[in-house]
Amino acid sequence: MNTVQHKVKVICGALALLGLAACASEKTPATADVAVSRAAVANATSAGAADLAPEEMKSAREKMMRANQALAAKDYKLAQDLAAQAQADAQLAQSKANSAKATAAADELQQSIRVLREEAARANTQQQ
């Protein structure tokens, strides 16, 4: 569900970007892009990216802030560019966080299997 919504958002963003290429001073698409990016940053944060991908998160937040500033200054082209970059950063941060968690889980499980094997081997050799 989330990915479908996400895809729709991305497509909307892409369409907006194309629309913007047609008319340079479009206000709404930039606002929408910034909103989409804000959501991407929020998603990354809830995935734990602040701890697991601090560099990308810092970059995403900084660009979001500058995009908001550009929006306030009515520099919609800059706002849109920054929002797109912030979104890319946030998505990378989120995927990094997810892969780090999955890797940790896999490592932990492997470790527990190793311990289990050792215990089983020890129990066998002890009683024989």
Binding site: S99, A102, A106, L109, A120, A123, Q127
Partner: protein, 303 residues
Amino acid sequence: MTPTKFMTKLRILPAAVAVAIVLSACSSAPITTSELDGARGDFVAAQSNPAVAASAPVEFKAAADALDRANAAAAQRESLADIDKLAYIAKQKIATAQEVTKQRQAEANVAQAGRQRDEVRLEARTAEADKARMAAERAKADADAARQQADTAAASARDEQAKAAALQQQLNDLQAKQTDRGLVITLNDVLFNVDKAELSAEGMRTAQKLADVLAQEPKSMVLIEGFTDSTGSSSHNLDLSQRRADAVRQALVGMGVPANKISTKGYGAAYPVAGNNDAASRQLNRRVEIVLSQNGAPITNRR
């Protein structure tokens, strides 16, 4: 050539990159930025790992599209800043595709590890059960062996008892007497022919009983002592008593008793067991006494 087709070509034939760049150079001079070069390099790396397209197809497609846009911007000679912006986004999306691939692989590992853990647990449990079964079998075998041993011991104890009882019976038949010097069996005069040193048939039967007892008591030593009554000369009596003792020894040796276990001694009329005044008493004095030492103890001589 559309960007997508360009990318497809790139996937199939990396050499086409150079050709495409040369071709595009015919119409316009090639332009690129280090950011775009970096993104292209990252993309080639992602392409060379088949797991990326397989595990993160959506993210990989998005990355390819983003790179297409950056390449298109470069082909259309847009500003370097614009090319860089698109290349940056492409680079981040390629990295995202790589991270998603890592995540999927880790998740697959988790699933795999879960199965492995179950297997290890099963193996451990199987080994435990095997061990318990083997221990039970060992314990049963031990118990069986112990019982068998106990049975054997009981049987041999019974045998020993039976043997001891039989021996006791035989000794009773011989009218053996327990004394300080050992068991003493007295063969009286009637077992010898009158005034002779040969055992009568009855005497031989008694000697056979004695030989049977000695066969069961391999450690016993035997001292055979001969005695007479006081009639006749003492030299004759000494000689007769010695010969009678020797005759018994001879009979026993003939019945399988080792000769080295038997010693003899003639005492003549010494050590009477009754007075020599009447015939009955004199008959009691004419005798052979056989002393059996028990457990190999030496036999003390008469004082």
